[in-house]
C-alpha cells in the first residue's frame, strides 16, 4: 500500500496521536470552502471529515435520501469514530453536508461547533466584506474557545504553511502533465486526501521528501489519459480501476482533489481579507458557481492542459448539486467533441458494473488517443 493511502487509512490514529503530542484541539470540517488557516493559526488541527462506508444501522434514523458522503460521515459520528474531535465546523455550502453537521450536533450536542456563512454569490463586490466579517466572528469564537489570541504573526505563519503546502501539491500535480508521468492518479488522489487530514507543517516535510523521491522514479508508460470530475470522493477506487484497465487518471476537478489546493492566499496587510479573497476565488464547485459559469471552462482548461483523452463524470447518487450542473458540463463536452462517461456511484464503487462501463468507454476513447495508438492509423 502506498504511504499516502496508509495515511488516509490511519487518519483517526494520526489525529489522536497529534492531540496527545501537542495537547492541541482537533476540529473536523465538512465543507470544502472552510478557511483552515484560521483554525491552524489558533493552534488547532483542522481535519477534513472524509466519508468511509461501514454497514449503516444508524443514520437512517436521522436522514432520508441524503447523498452517501453526508450519510456516511454522520454514520461515522454516530458510531463513535470521531469521538476524539473537540469540535466541528461547517461552511455555507451543500445542504446534505449541512444536514450531516446538523444531525450530528443534535445527537452529540457536546461538540463545540460553528456555522460559517460564505456567500453563494461569490462575485459581488460586497461578498468579500461579508466573508471578512464572518471570518472575524469565527476568529473571535476560536479565541474564546482556545483561550488564545490569534495574532497577525500567527495568521502570517499559518498562511505561509498552507501556501507552501499548496505549492508543493501543485508541483507534484504538474508532473502529471508529462506524457510518461512519474505518479499515477491513484497515488496522487491518496496524497491529496492525506493532505486534508494532516498537520500541514508535517505534511510539507513529507511532500518535500516525496518530491525528491519522484525525481528518481522510472516514469510510467504512456497510456490512455483520463480526467475525473463530479461529486467528491474519499478514496481512489476509481483511479485504481482505471489503472487496472491500462489507463491513468491524469487530472481531476474534484472538491476533494485539485480544487482543494489550486489557488493560493495572496498575502496582504488585512489578513482576513486575504483569506476571504482566496476562498471566494477558488475553483468553484456547483453550489458556488451560480453566477458566472466558471466551472465548465475550468474543466475544459484542465482537460487541455493535462492532455486528457476523455472524461469520467462520477456523480454521487442524490447529489443534487452536480445533478443541476451536469447539463452545462455535458453541453460543453459535447460541443467540443470530448468523449465522456457519466455514471452514478455512492461511497462504495459498484465493482463489476463500473469496470464493464469503463472498459467499453476506454475502447471508444482509445480510437481517438493518437498518442497511444499512433499518429498514422493503419487502414483496415
Amino acid at each position: 500500500m502506498d504511504q499516502f493511502k496508509q495515511l488516509v487509512e490511519n487518519r483517526h490514529a494520526y489525529a489522536q496521536s497529534w492531540k496527545a503530542r501537542t495537547g492541541g484541539k482537533v476540529l473536523g470540517w465538512y465543507e470544502p470552502y472552510f478557511p483552515e488557516e484560521l483554525a491552524y493559526a489558533a493552534g488547532i488541527l483542522p481535519v477534513r471529515l472524509l466519508a468511509r462506508h461501514e454497514p449503516d444501522d444508524r443514520s437512517e434514523k436521522w436522514m432520508y435520501a441524503a447523498c452517501y458522503p453526508a450519510r456516511d460521515i454522520l454514520n461515522q459520528f454516530l458510531k463513535g469514530r470521531y469521538d476524539y474531535l473537540d469540535g466541528m465546523v461547517t461552511v455555507e455550502g451543500c445542504q446534505w453536508m449541512y444536514h450531516a453537521f446538523e444531525s450530528t450536533l443534535r445527537s452529540r450536542p457536546e461538540f463545540w461547533n460553528h456555522y460559517l456563512f460564505l456567500p453563494d454569490y461569490t462575485d459581488a463586490p460586497t461578498s468579500k466584506t461579508v466573508l471578512r466579517s464572518e471570518l472575524q466572528v469565527f476568529q473571535e469564537k476560536l479565541e474564546a474557545w482556545t483561550g488564545r489570541t490569534v495574532t497577525d504573526a500567527d495568521l502570517d505563519w499559518a498562511i505561509e504553511v498552507y501556501n507552501k503546502n499548496r505549492l508543493l501539491l501543485r508541483q507534484i500535480y504538474e508532473l502529471r502533465r508529462a506524457q510518461e508521468p512519474v505518479i499515477l492518479g491513484s497515488e496522487m488522489m491518496h496524497l491529496i486526501l492525506a493532505d486534508q487530514v494532516m498537520d500541514k507543517a508535517e505534511m510539507n516535510e513529507i511532500l518535500e521528501r516525496f518530491l525528491e523521491e519522484l525525481e528518481q522514479r522510472t516514469p510510467h508508460r504512456d497510456c490512455i489519459r483520463l480526467m475525473l470530475i463530479g461529486s467528491e470522493t474519499s478514496d481512489a477506487a476509481l483511479e485504481e480501476m482505471a489503472e487496472s484497465l491500462g489507463a491513468n487518471v491524469v487530472v481531476d476537478e474534484l472538491d476533494t482533489g485539485s480544487s482543494y489546493f489550486w489557488n493560493n492566499v495572496l498575502p496582504q496587510k488585512d489578513r482576513l481579507m486575504a483569506l476571504a479573497l482566496r476562498y471566494l476565488g477558488r475553483p468553484h464547485n456547483p453550489i458556488k458557481d451560480n453566477n458566472w459559469r466558471r466551472r465548465p471552462q475550468h474543466i475544459f482548461e484542465l482537460y487541455e492542459d493535462f492532455s486528457a483523452d476523455g472524461v469520467i463524470i462520477a456523480k454521487q447518487i442524490y447529489c443534487h448539486l452536480h445533478g443541476t450542473d451536469n447539463y452545462a458540463v455535458w453541453k460543453l463536452l459535447r460541443e467540443r467533441n470530448i468523449p465522456y462517461l457519466f455514471f452514478e456511484r455512492d461511497t462504495t464503487l459498484p465493482e463489476e458494473e463500473t469496470r464493464l462501463r469503463l472498459e467499453s468507454f476506454l475502447t471508444v476513447v482509445r480510437q481517438g488517443a493518437t498518442h497511444v495508438c499512433g499518429w498514422h492509423k493503419t487502414l483496415a
Partner: protein, 445 residues
C-alpha cells in the same frame, strides 16, 4: 347533519372572488406582451414597478403541471434527464424546464422562454440554483443574491455587511433592468407593493392565529392553499389584493366567532411539513372522512411570517417578537431614495425572508412548537427522495414530534411535484392503518 358531525359548516364565500381574480390573472398572462424573466415572484415585489417586464416562476408552474398533466410532467422530466439534469433535483424544476426543450407547456401553448434571470436566494440548494436552468439553456442576463444565515439570536454586527450585500445585489438588479430593457422603475409603485405585502401579512397572521386557536378550525389548509397565492404568485393589483385578504380574514373571523367549522366532524387535528404532494391532494379530503383535519405546515403559514408564542401563551406572527425575529421597519420609515426602498424591503434582520425554512432547517424542534400552537394531535410527514429542501430534517422533526407525544406517520415519495415514487395504494392503506391505530373510524363516504 351527517354521521359524526359535531359542528355546523358551510361553503366558503370568498371562494367565488378567488376564482374571479385567478381567472383575471390567467387572462392577463395569456395576452402577455411583456419581457418574461425567471424569478422568485414572492420576493420580486419590485418587478410590478416595471411596466413592461414580468417575472414568472418555475416552482408553481412545476407543481401545477404535476397536478394537471402527469404524462407531460413525465415527458418533461425525461427531456431534462437525458440532457444531464439529475433525477434528484426538485421535481418542480424538471417538470417545468423540459418545456424549454419540448418547445411547449403542458397545455400545448408555446413555452414562455425567459429573457433574464433574477435571484432566488434560499436555504434550499435546488431553490437557489434554479435560475441556472434557463441561463445554461441560453445566454441571458442573470443576477444573483444570497440568503444570509447565521445561528442564534439576531446579531446587528453580522447583519450590517450582510444587509449591504443584499442591498447591493437588489439595486444591481433594478438598475441593470432599467439599463438593459430601457424602462424606468416606478418607485411609487415599488413602495405600494411593499406596503401591500405588509397589510396582507397582517391579515394572513390573523388568519393563521384563528386557525390555530379555534376548535373547530374555521379553515383547513386545503382551503388556505386554494387562495394563498393570490397577490403573490397570482399577481393582482394592490387594492384588489388587500380587499381580497380582508374579505378572507373577515369571513374566517366570522366563522371562528360562530363556530363554523371547515370540517364538521373535526376530532383529530394534524399538521405536516413543507409543501404537500401537489400531484395528489386528495388525502386531505380522505382524512376528513375520519374527522381528521389538516392545519398546515410551517410552510403553509409563511405568509404570516411564521407563528410564535408570546410569553402569556397567546400566538402572534414572528415579526412581532424578539429575539427570534425582528419586526420590519415601521411603515412610516422615510423613503427618500431608491436605496431606502430596497433597505426597507429587507428590514433590519439580514436573515429575512424565509423564516419558515430557517425554522425547519436550523431549528427542527420548532415543529413541536408549531404543533402545539396548532393544537394538533398528530403529524403526517412526507419523505422525499428528490429536492433536498423538501426533505431536509424531516426524520428529525418526526423524532421530535414523537418524543413530544404526537402521533406521527411518515410516507415516501419523490418530491411534492414528482409522483414517480409515490405508491398511492400503499399510501392510502397506511392512512387507514394510522386512523385505525388512533381508534378513528371512517364516518361517512
Amino acid at each position: 347533519m351527517s354521521q359524526g358531525q359535531r359542528w355546523k359548516t358551510r361553503p366558503l364565500e370568498f371562494w367565488a372572488k378567488a376564482k374571479e381574480l385567478r381567472a383575471d390573472w390567467q387572462k392577463s398572462i395569456e395576452k402577455q406582451d411583456k419581457v418574461v424573466g425567471q424569478g422568485n415572484t414572492g420576493f420580486a415585489d419590485w418587478s410590478a414597478a416595471f411596466p413592461a417586464i414580468t417575472v414568472i416562476e418555475d416552482n408553481p408552474a412545476g407543481a401545477m403541471i404535476s397536478h394537471k398533466n402527469p404524462p407531460f410532467a413525465r415527458k418533461s422530466r425525461l427531456a431534462c434527464e437525458i440532457r444531464g439534469w439529475g433525477r434528484e433535483i426538485c421535481g418542480y424544476h424538471n417538470n417545468c424546464w423540459g418545456g424549454q426543450f419540448l418547445g411547449c407547456q403542458d397545455d400545448g401553448t408555446p413555452f414562455p422562454y425567459r429573457r433574464f434571470v433574477v435571484p432566488f436566494p434560499c436555504v434550499c440548494d435546488s431553490h437557489g440554483k434554479r435560475g441556472q436552468q434557463c441561463r445554461d439553456f441560453e445566454a441571458m442576463p442573470q443576477w444573483m443574491a444570497d440568503q444570509c444565515i447565521y445561528f442564534g439570536p439576531r446579531d446587528a454586527r453580522r447583519d450590517e455587511p450582510m444587509l449591504e450585500h443584499k442591498t447591493w445585489c437588489q439595486l444591481k438588479v433594478v438598475n441593470d433592468i432599467e439599463r438593459i430593457f430601457g424602462q424606468p422603475l416606478d418607485e411609487e409603485e415599488y413602495i405600494r407593493q411593499l406596503d401591500t405585502v405588509s397589510v396582507v401579512r397582517a391579515y394572513a397572521q390573523e388568519i393563521s392565529v384563528l386557525m390555530a386557536q379555534t376548535i373547530p378550525t374555521p379553515l383547513s389548509v386545503k382551503d388556505l392553499y386554494s387562495v394563498y397565492t393570490i397577490g403573490g404568485l397570482t399577481k393582482v393589483n394592490p387594492d384588489d389584493t388587500i380587499a381580497f385578504w380582508k374579505l378572507v380574514r373577515d369571513e374566517v373571523k366570522w366563522r371562528a366567532d360562530n363556530q363554523i367549522a371547515a370540517v364538521g366532524n373535526e376530532r383529530f387535528r394534524w399538521i405536516e411539513a413543507h409543501p404537500p404532494s401537489w400531484h395528489m391532494l386528495k388525502y386531505y379530503r380522505y382524512l376528513e372522512k375520519f374527522g381528521a383535519v389538516c392545519l398546515g405546515s410551517q410552510y403553509s403559514h409563511m405568509m404570516s411570517g411564521g407563528l410564535q408564542r408570546r410569553e402569556d401563551g397567546t400566538i402572534s406572527g414572528n415579526w412581532e417578537l424578539e429575539p427570534k425575529g425582528t419586526a420590519p421597519y415601521p411603515a412610516d420609515t422615510p423613503l427618500a431614495t431608491r436605496e431606502d426602498i430596497v433597505r426597507y424591503s429587507f428590514g433590519p434582520d439580514a436573515r429575512y425572508p424565509y423564516t419558515f425554512k430557517i425554522d425547519e432547517y436550523l431549528y427542527p424542534d420548532k415543529i413541536v412548537e408549531f404543533a402545539g400552537m396548532m393544537q394538533a394531535d398528530g403529524a403526517l410527514l412526507g419523505l422525499w427522495r428528490c429536492g433536498v429542501g423538501c426533505t431536509m430534517t424531516r426524520k428529525e422533526q418526526a423524532m421530535r414530534l414523537r418524543d413530544a407525544g404526537y402521533q406521527v406517520l411518515l410516507y415516501e415519495g419523490s418530491q411534492p411535484g414528482d409522483r414517480t415514487d409515490l405508491d398511492e395504494k400503499q399510501f392510502f392503506d397506511r392512512l387507514d392503518g394510522w386512523m385505525e391505530s388512533l381508534g378513528l373510524e371512517r364516518l361517512e363516504d
